[in-house]
């Protein structure tokens, strides 16, 4: 009991300190000063009257939303003896497996090839592709783990060899209870054959009410059943607690001027990535300019460095020439600490359908990155981290489709090799856009990326009959090459709630 109270007061103190520096605090103070002139505020009951005033004028809701968004991001309270690295990543062997040294060396090798003013894109290769990342994950080993040659009770037949905790299907059913068969879903119950009076109209009305209330927590609960297309942009902004204040606009303009004035090496990587991925995609090539605007600004945004407090990776550092090793002369390179890999621009592309104003698009992307997307390309033991997602996918497939799993393994087509690229990009570029946005609704609603692993397993279950007949990895990839006709929500419902286990 005492421990929980201490943890709670520590959390409260931490959130208060964080919010004190934010714009909301000064706005609340100003509002309190202004309200003193109102006749209903009396001096004797000053505190209660001001609290009442905040409740009526909607400022309390804003404060609630801010606290809620801090809580979703805030990592668990840490033990006083634990060093800060423990908060980022508790398992020592995962900490040691971080990649930044390799990335830095690659980047610096390319530095030698540069030297011209105009970036010659043919000289650039992407820093790394999802395939290379998968190889690193496959080679993760716990030195204390029995990995003998003989089969024992926990031999990993899949590619991932670390025994992290992943949810069983019963736990997943409980976790995703709002996706069950007897709850209405957008993506299923808004099909043309279903009369809209059954579910859709009521759901849209409820969504409008949630938006009118401006309550983040309610919006997050609401969006678990999907979001109507008309309300999606505002709902996501509410859940991520992004508002379009003049200060945010100014911040974005400042970043834009930094892009115009200064050149960074990472810009060339971004250009190359956008040209290779988004511009070739049927849905997203129209947004090419938006992508440049967002990504170039993103790489100069130092506020992103804040998320490294709970990210297991560390931003790569570079030193002024001649001052190697001296911390005073170290800079984070790139300024936001994130080196874009091949396919990075696909995180931004679907958002372009929702937001047309560059500064709002930028803020939404930044918030989604520091909450979710960074976990997809850093090595950590977090339940939403990519290692856990891979293990969850393999475990689900082994448990519920053992014949398929065995068959694919026998022909040399480990299922993770095919589904890894889907999960790393959060299915962006593989699904049709409306289906992808329905999937990302659920990611926001459940504040977890586990649904990506469940969907990957569901896709394999759907195409199981065809997959049982293939005889090589290339043929298996061909069966699963085109996902653009799939409907996401029925697949998830069937896999979670309608499969006989």
């Amino acid at each position: 009991m005492l421990q929980e109270e201490e943890d709670l007061s520590l959390t409260i103190a931490h959130i208060v300190q964080k919010l004190k520096g934010s714009r909301l605090y000064s706005q609340l103070e100003r509002q309190a000063w202004v309200s003193l002139q109102k006749p209903e505020i009396k001096l004797e009951s000053l505190k209660e009257d001001i609290k009442e005033f905040f409740k009526i004028s909607g400022w309390e809701k804003k404060l609630q939303n801010a606290v809620y968004s801090e809580l979703t991001v805030f990592p668990l309270p840490r033990h006083p003896a634990a060093p800060p690295e423990h908060l980022k990543e508790p398992l020592v062997y995962m900490r040691k497996a971080q990649r930044p040294v390799v990335e830095q060396k690659e980047l610096l090798n390319k530095w030698n090839e540069m030297g011209t003013d105009e970036p010659d894109l043919s000289l650039f290769r992407p820093v790394y592709a999802p395939k290379d990342f998968l190889e690193v994950l496959i080679n993760l080993r716990n030195p204390n783990y029995e990995n003998g040659d003989h089969l024992n009770l926990k031999t990993h037949l899949g590619l991932i060899q670390v025994p992290l905790k992943v949810k069983y299907i019963s736990e997943l059913k409980e976790f995703f209870i709002e996706l069950s068969l007897n709850t209405g879903q957008l993506g299923i119950d808004d099909a043309t054959q279903v009369p809209p009076e059954l579910f859709e109209n009521e759901h849209v009305r409820l969504g409008q009410k949630v938006l009118a209330e401006q309550d983040s927590a309610a919006a997050q609960q609401y969006i678990r059943q999907g979001s109507p297309t008309a309300l999606r942009a505002e709902l996501w902004a509410l859940i991520l607690n992004v508002s379009n204040q003049p200060e945010d606009l100014l911040y974005y303009e400042q970043l834009k001027s930094n892009v115009i004035q200064h050149d960074l090496l990472v810009d060339s990587l971004i250009y190359k990535d956008v040209k290779l991925t988004a511009s070739n995609d049927d849905y997203y090539f129209v947004f090419e300019d938006y992508l440049y605007q967002v990504l170039l600004c993103f790489s100069r945004d130092t506020s992103v460095l804040g998320h490294f407090a709970y990210n297991s990776a560390s931003p790569p550092k570079s030193y002024i020439r001649g001052k190697l090793g001296m911390e005073d002369y170290a800079v984070f390179y790139p300024p936001n600490g994130v080196i874009p890999f091949h396919g990075f621009s696909m995180y931004v592309a679907p958002l372009c359908f929702l937001y047309h104003e560059p500064s709002k698009l930028y803020q939404i992307f930044r918030e989604m990155y520091v909450r979710f997307f960074f976990r997809l390309h850093s090595i950590s033991s977090h339940p939403s981290g990519i290692v856990s997602l891979c293990l969850l996918f393999e475990t689900l497939l082994q448990t519920h489709l053992p014949q398929l799993f065995y068959h694919l393994r026998e022909i040399g087509a480990q299922p993770l090799r095919i589904s890894f690229k889907w999960m790393v990009r959060a299915f962006s570029g593989y699904l049709a856009t409306d289906q992808l946005l329905l999937l990302w609704d659920r990611i926001l609603g459940y504040n977890s990326l586990e649904i990506l692993a469940v969907l990957a397993a569901a896709v394999f279950a759907f195409r199981a009959v065809n997959l049982m007949e293939v005889t090589s990895l290339a043929a298996a990839e061909a069966v699963l090459a085109d996902l653009s006709t799939l409907k996401v929500m029925p697949l998830l419902q069937i896999f979670l709630f309608a499969t006989i286990t």
Binding site: M1, L2, Q3, Q17, K18, K20, G21, S22, R78, H79, P80, A81, A82, H86, P90, L91, V92, Q104, L108, W111, M114, N142, P143, N144, Y145, E146, N152, L153, K154, V162, P163, L164, K165, Y251, Q254, L255, N258, Q261, H262, L264, L265, R300, D301, T302, S303, G306, K317, S318, Y319, I320, R321, G322, K323, L324, V331, Y333, P335, S381
Partner: protein
């Protein structure tokens, strides 16, 4: 309230196993760590870093009352779970604190303490506890509100008749200084973690200036 570490002597872990450790195939599932205290004092808190131990029990031997002939071992923590699933990594390398109120008996006069570690899963090669430390309450630290020279003002001195021009009013000056001091205290008290938000480049990202790491 401050914590003061208690001096103790921690012996190495001993595996409890039937038969010879070297010749038998299986790995031991139980380890015992003995801790002795030179002075039998009270302690409030035990902290350690877990390394793949699943369950922990603690037995203590206290200084007995004068009419008791021998001191006996009492269990003060039984099968405390450190890893919810012994086969998974959850909780395997966490930092843990155990407090007096979680124990089944008093921790007043402890002579010896025995930590019994259990790890039933055969998957792990080793398991132990690291960085074991014991703490007791330190003396109450007095809050230093005033700096020393404020709480011991210098005795009143006669003003020197050196200057002929008008001196500023001492009361006004002292009130202004007090206000400034209060402002600095307020700013110091409300320290935030917010960034200024400016991104100054001043040439430090220039290609030729940065070197290899």
């Amino acid at each position: 309230m401050s914590r003061v570490p208690v001096p103790c002597h921690i012996k190495g872990a001993v595996a409890l196993q039937v038969g010879d450790v070297r010749t038998v195939q299986g790995r031991p599932g139980v380890l015992v760590i003995d801790v002795t205290f030179p002075t039998a004092g009270p302690f409030e808190e035990i902290t350690f870093k877990n390394y793949y131990t699943a369950f922990l029990s603690i037995r203590v031997r206290q200084v007995g009352s004068p009419n008791q002939s021998s001191t006996k071992w009492i269990t003060c923590l039984r099968d405390y779970c450190l890893m919810p699933n012994p086969h998974n990594e959850e909780g395997a390398q966490d930092y843990v604190s155990l407090y007096k109120h979680q124990m089944l008996c008093d921790m007043d006069k402890v002579l010896e303490l025995r930590l019994i570690l259990r790890q039933p899963s055969p998957l792990w090669l080793n398991f132990t506890l690291e960085e074991l430390q014991f703490f007791q309450h330190g003396p109450q630290s007095s809050s230093s509100a005033f700096t020393k020279w404020l709480s011991h003002p210098a005795p009143y001195e006669q003003p020197a008749l050196l200057l002929q021009q008008a001196l500023p009013d001492p009361d006004k000056v002292s009130s202004e200084v007090q206000q400034m001091w209060m402002l600095t205290e307020m700013i110091r008290a409300s320290r935030t973690t917010a960034r200024i938000g400016r991104f100054d480049v001043d040439g430090c990202y220039d290609l030729n200036l940065l070197s290899y790491t």
